[in-house]
């Protein structure tokens, strides 16, 4: 692809948002880093520019304006903010890929707050009916982006969604970040993917994985 795409990362100053931004800066896309925390954004831009001097990045504070310019939107905001953010970007996100990374965990990290018959991603799709919502980057910790090979194995990253071309595009993005993309299925598979991260977090705390752990499907 010759024509440069623009990817907006909403919540770019957060742990996951900045990890995704750094990882995508390896690619050829233009990145709009969006956050209200301007100082943190400036610091992130400096870090990225030092490592990738040719990276095409810009900081912005307005989620709506950033999403309007974007071809692809990554919602790296907490699950609790999902409804508010969706409201702001609904009109300008029409027909765009919107990547949901959120895990709807409770405060003590021992349960999901969503109803078992839905998921954060499906709720987002209901809030953005004309967008192509894709679940991705929810089974990976922020630290994994700097080290996608753990114990000699490249971590898998699962993707779910209802639109074929949106899944393929997202798989390419996942590949750019260094993970092994696995298209898991329809958007409803997000229920399983979100529960997988709940389990990984519980195991990480129990067995002290030091927040560097991931999923790998073993197969022949």
């Amino acid at each position: 692809m010759q024509t440069k795409r623009t990817i907006a990362i909403l919540g770019a100053s957060g742990n996951m948002g900045s990890a995704i931004a750094k990882a995508l800066a390896k690619g050829n896309d233009r990145l709009l880093l969006i956050s209200k925390e301007e100082e943190k954004l400036e610091a992130l831009k400096t870090v990225i520019t030092n490592e990738y001097p040719l990276a095409d990045i810009e900081g912005m504070t307005c989620a709506m304006h950033g999403s309007w310019e974007a071809d692809i939107i990554i919602l790296a905001t907490p699950y609790e903010a999902q409804t508010d953010v969706a409201e702001k970007i609904r009109e300008v996100a029409s027909q765009k890929i919107v990547i949901s990374i959120a895990n709807p965990l409770n405060a003590t990290y021992d349960a999901l707050v969503t109803n078992p018959e839905t998921s954060a991603a499906e709720e987002l799709q209901a809030l953005l009916p004309h967008s192509k919502v894709v679940k991705a980057f929810n089974t990976t910790y922020a630290a994994n982006f700097a080290q996608t090979v753990i114990d000699g194995k490249q971590a898998d990253a699962f993707i779910a969604g209802n639109n074929e071309s949106a899944l393929e595009t997202t798989a390419e993005l996942v590949k750019t970040t260094g993970f092994n993309p696995i298209i898991a299925g329809k958007l409803s598979v997000s229920r399983t993917l979100e529960a997988m991260q709940l389990l990984l977090i519980q195991l990480t705390m129990k067995y002290k994985y030091n927040w560097l752990a991931g999923w790998k499907i073993l197969h022949q």
Binding site: T3, K4, H65, E69, V92, S94, Q95, P129
Partner: protein
């Protein structure tokens, strides 16, 4: 965000609120800044763009990197590489923003959906294609038969604002003349 598009549809095919809403939900609102690309040569053109605000132009490049301007497009116009859009072959065109733009994009999949499901859209698109065909033939006739001065007068008649919005060297390229010739023609016309 959709004002000019709705006007463009209503002018050609009177439609109900419901039909317009259905059309609206299939478009992608997209802002493009000056000098950014909607399409670069080598990609298959997968979308058509309606311009709500701003201006774009399409061009090919020669071996030395020089631009050959094909088309200018302003508010209320559509721009795309229909050849690549229909044939799915790689485009030889670049489409670049001359100004900051607000666009409404329609990709192949959504275009097909609307053609199948919204009769008004099919009529609207047929009228657009007719107009595009007429414009293309006029462009060819102009290239083959008209003098540089006639071509320039014709262009300014068609788009009054073009002189203020488009750099002279791009207008010259569109007309197939050198910027010096264009400058001479403009001086001659001004002195009449």
């Amino acid at each position: 965000m959709f004002e000019l598009l709705i006007k463009s549809i209503q002018d050609k095919v009177p439609s109900t609120e419901e039909e317009l809403h259905l059309c609206k939900t299939h478009f992608t609102p997209k802002r493009l800044r000056r000098k950014q690309f909607l399409l670069q040569e080598g990609d298959v053109c997968n979308r058509m763009a309606f311009i709500e605000k701003g201006a774009l132009y399409s061009y090919t490049t020669d071996a030395k990197g020089g631009q050959r301007v094909m088309q200018f497009a302003f508010e209320g116009f559509w721009i795309s590489d229909l050849y690549s859009f229909f044939t799915r072959e790689e485009s030889k065109l670049n489409i670049e923003a001359l100004e900051d733009c607000e666009l409404l994009l329609l990709d192949h999949e959504q275009h097909d959906y609307l053609l199948k499901n919204v009769r008004q859209y099919e009529t609207y698109i047929r009228i657009l294609y007719q107009n595009a065909y007429v414009a293309l033939q006029q462009r060819i006739e102009g290239t083959l038969g008209l003098t540089a001065e006639e071509k320039y007068s014709h262009l300014v008649e068609q788009y009054a604002t073009i002189v203020n919005r488009v750099p002279q060297h791009l207008i010259a390229s569109y007309l197939g003349i050198t910027p010096e010739t264009l400058s001479r023609i403009r001086k001659q016309m001004a002195s009449r």
